[in-house]
Symmetry: C2
Subunit: 623 residues, 2 copies
């Protein structure tokens, strides 16, 4: 088993040297914090990852969750982990003091999550799903909803989920058919339907599951405009619905209360039946449920916010979830990178091309240029991705503590970057984990090494939280034209600023010029595609996935130039020893990215400027 699974040095470089996370403490909301508290959070994450998560990585893959008597049984090693996440306050750490949280910036929490994910992706999702669900309640729910449900979610006793997908509504959420029928109480509805692929949708490591569920109120508008958001607990508080005044105020759990032994009997079944657990290629430790809701006409759901606004609430939380997915992908890619790096440094095989003397011992494979290429590829993708993800988290935190145009600009930039931050790591880490397998050769294909698991686990990310195609449409069909293209203007300004800074350094000038050139090419492609929008929508959007790939590639090239500037400055300032090695690694990976990755824009551009609409013209019967 590989020992290193992430680089603390790189995380610190990004947080403190590149993105100046400590600057957040200038704002009132984060004023109690300092780099020291941030480091404590990260050290604590590392300790939990090392002690609890990483040792279970392989085992959770081999011993999948099983549905037994209607209940999903997860790996029992998860129980203490779930307890730990709750007790140590990870679930609500980002929320306000008022809510029992610690007001930790998402930049720092995201970095901590990255450590968990790199150690053991499946185990890392439980608390963050709860966090996301709780976030919806606290952002859009009534005081009663918050007080009733979030405290036990924060302690980890109750699991949270996002229950969106249905058998006939995956990418097309407008088509959900789960219904909500009003009851006498205007906040309470009877829910009926099916939900599939619900992560942590049921398991025996919690006392209750709180689904944040999309459903359509009967008689409401068709499509997305008729979707509402409900809290649908797996078990509801008993006597629910018998009282006029809302949600059982007497059963509200005091905020400070921790797990109690007598809570069970206060809960009663809410007719949310676990019909199945999905068996998957990877990500096996996480229980993904198929739920039947209201089969016995006995499921109650509590409306969150106003009727018919469910999708908009969900989407306001989506940036967070999507950046989370990008982070998952980058984390898995990082673990695979270090596993293959370790192997490459230890495994002797063959000789260098310039000295094939068979009587000399074999050399470590890291000496071979092609192995270094595959390692540089991984490093370029995972560290480039992480850089973008930290940047996005910073934008999110800054939007949280600023106002007016400043806040709007942060939000706009974040909105534009989100499809990239979700998709680039997701797509590319399928390829980087593949490179990790390749470096190990036959060994990499066996279950004796972890890289094959990383390869399988990476493959989920281009699918969940919006497939790559959906994000392509989001970017080209929506984000770049939003507010007259203001987001894009903001991004280009940011990139230009980086180019200017890079131009201060002789060694970076060629990279600055290259990025400038590709920025221009991107602009040419964007203008060309937008010119099609008025003529034929189908053709305009037919290669949105490729446009996303091009845009992502240039964005990560920008992130590498940002990193290259800091590394160059550090070397100029006299970095030595391990530090110098670290910065040299950054400089060379920047070079790699511009030589091997950024050039892919050439081919993408050629295609995107072409007039041949073969995918649109192709017919089903010709396949």
């Amino acid at each position: 088993m590989a020992t290193q699974f992430y680089s603390k040095r790189n995380l610190q470089f990004l947080l403190y040297e590149v993105f100046d996370a400590q600057s957040l403490t200038q704002y009132e909301y984060y004023q109690d914090h300092a780099r020291e508290t941030f480091d404590m959070v990260l050290d604590s994450a590392e300790q939990i990852a090392e002690k609890y998560l990483k040792p279970l990585l392989t085992e959770m893959d081999r011993k999948e969750p099983q549905l037994v008597d209607g209940k999903i049984k997860i790996h029992e090693g998860m129980f203490p982990i779930l307890k730990k996440f709750g007790e140590d306050g990870w679930i609500n750490a980002g929320f306000s003091y008022d809510e029992g949280g610690q007001q930790i910036p998402s930049t720092v929490l995201g970095a901590a999550a990255f450590i968990f994910q790199a150690a053991n992706y499946s185990s890392s999702v439980f608390p963050f799903l709860t966090s996301g669900a709780a976030n919806l309640i606290r952002s859009f729910g009534s005081e009663e909803l918050k007080n009733t449900f979030t405290p036990k979610m924060y302690t980890g006793e109750w699991q949270g989920t996002m229950a969106l997908t249905e058998p006939d509504a995956g990418s097309s959420l407008s088509d959900i058919t789960t219904t909500a029928e009003p009851t006498e109480n205007e906040n309470i509805y009877k829910i009926k339907g099916q939900k599939i692929y619900i992560s942590a949708g049921d398991h025996d490591g919690c006392d209750n599951v709180i689904h944040l569920m999309l459903a359509k109120i009967k008689g409401g508008p068709a499509g997305a405009k008729g979707i509402s958001l409900f809290v649908v607990p797996q078990k509801r508080l008993e006597d629910i619905g018998d009282r006029e005044s809302g949600l059982l105020s007497e059963y509200r759990t005091p905020k400070t209360e921790h797990r109690t032994t007598n809570i069970e009997h206060r809960l009663t079944n809410n007719d949310v039946i676990t019909a199945g657990v999905y068996h998957k290629m990877g990500y096996k430790g996480a229980p993904i449920a198929h739920l039947m809701v209201g089969s016995n006409d006995n499921t109650f759901g509590y409306l969150v916010g106003e009727p018919h606004k469910g999708l908009s609430y969900m989407f306001q939380m989506m940036n967070e979830a999507r950046i989370g997915v990008g982070m998952n992908a980058a984390a898995i890619g990082t673990a695979a990178f270090y596993a293959s790096l370790e192997y490459a440094k230890e495994r002797p095989q063959g000789r260098v091309i310039s000295d094939k003397d068979i009587t000399k011992p074999q050399v470590q494979i890291i000496r071979h240029a092609d192995v270094k290429r595959m390692l540089l590829f991984q490093k370029a993708v995972v560290e480039g991705s992480l850089s973008l993800l930290v940047h996005c988290s910073m934008l999110s935190d800054l939007a949280h503590v600023t106002e007016g145009e400043e806040k709007e600009n942060y939000d706009l930039l974040l909105d534009l970057l989100t499809p990239i931050a979700k998709t680039y790591p997701s797509e590319m880490c399928c390829l980087t984990t593949s490179a990790a397998v390749q470096i190990l050769g036959g060994a990499g294909y066996t279950t004796d090494f972890p890289v094959e698991q990383f390869y399988r686990e990476a493959r989920i990310h281009p699918i969940h939280e919006g497939t790559t195609a959906i994000h392509g449409l989001d970017l080209l069909g929506r984000k770049i034209i939003l507010k007259n293209g203001k987001s894009l203007t903001l991004l280009v300004a940011e990139i230009m600023k980086t180019i200017e800074q890079a131009n201060q350094h002789e060694t970076l000038k060629p990279h600055a010029a290259t990025l400038m050139k590709y920025l221009g090419k991107t602009d040419t492609v964007t203008k060309h595609l937008l010119s099609l929008a008025g003529k034929d929508l189908e053709i305009f959007l037919s290669d949105a996935t490729l446009y996303l790939e091009l845009f992502g590639n240039v964005t990560i090239a920008w992130q590498w130039l940002v990193q290259g500037i800091k590394a160059t400055e550090a070397l100029q300032a006299g970095a030595s020893g391990d530090d110098a090695n670290f910065y040299q690694g950054k400089i060379h990976t920047l070079r790699y990215f511009y030589e091997y990755e950024l050039v892919k824009v050439e081919s993408l551009m050629k295609r995107l400027l072409s007039e041949d609409n073969v995918t649109v013209e192709m017919r089903g019967e010709w396949f």
Copy 2:
């Protein structure tokens, strides 16, 4: 479970319309055959695939081989399959009548193998491994070796293997340490060592395993020049070594004899111990063994051919094995393509971009341009690959029946194309199976559909029979400069011939011109790289993998133009109905390939012409 797993129509198109396999029957060796016999072979393969192989696809993946009391137990469903392969003469079908074979061209046998592989890859490897091992014995072994070992290999009672890899010698075969110590009999040696990753290296579906094993005769030259080839049976014929006159002539099995019940007791253990069975990401149905040889100083091996020529014998058989791997990859890719095509035609989700009316029902996802793109991608790769593989098989058959310069030219062309035929399908089908998963979305990630299995199974091919990097070095460092570049000259002449033919058709002229252009670009890159060879070997070969990718891409573009010509001619000749659909599919996939795939040469070329040697300059301590 998907119903279609390959296209008979496409196979017939390639065999008869494109490559004129029936022309082989003009040669004396194949004169007893006709298209009818070829079709019978293929029909028979399809029947076996449908009845025996395909039903076990999922089960063999779920119930892996296990090592029990020193013996690998395979899925019991394999037993009748192994019997069938032997009884029906699949193992020696390609060999001469003298050897009990049927003189079926490898073009036809390869196509039959493709059907088996597409139905169930793991189950398909057993007979072909035996075939390959027997081929080594019949090509280079003594009459006694042939007569002793091949008959029971042909009946499938004895399994054959290629035993090359060792713990410290995978890509670097020169470094094997398995030793062969001479005995009193000059043809018999005592063997000692370890072999790993031996496909079908031990299992309970056969009476004996015949390893074609590389070992070094003590006192021989260092490195590759000291490697000899031995037949090392798992069980030897009893009393072996006690007789002076070779290999137990009295125990030779008469050629016509089939499985007998009393053979077991004539066999005695040859001290080949199965130390382990590998558990793998995919390809799980095939038992891959770790063997300890001569641990008790009691393993005898029989020298094949002359001492120290083992590696050259092995490599003379390598083309076959490598084309076989390309075929495996293309077959798995094909099965995934049809599984995702079926899903895309059935699954309603979303609406076409030009009509988003939510009150209308959802459309099948095959209507979405991005889904068609992912289907076209798969079709372009798997059918382009299969075209090249059939072409290579034809070259092999033609080399078999011709002489002098004609034969030499076929051999040279085949040698040059082999690294492409092995690598292009292997690398690309990792990506096409990924596209298949993506089309199914969440469903594709679950074990409820076969695509995730195809994704896992595809991943072995860039590793075995020489990693992609090894083939890159083979192409750039050896094949293109062999005989003063005669192979390359021959290939370019073939491609030019295709371009000329395409120029006869107005609709194909643009594609002909594009291919011409990229052929020129390939030439520019080749000349640039060769100019580096004299200066710095390390730099010259540092991007050999990328050169292979570029070369492969252009080669498959050529294969698509070849297919496009035939399709165009068929449409001109008035093809209608399903036939017209088939040819339209070809034309549109050709278009797809030139629009989306061939353009990748632009980026590759840009990198390959660059002077930045970042992978060579990168150092281990900077990672």
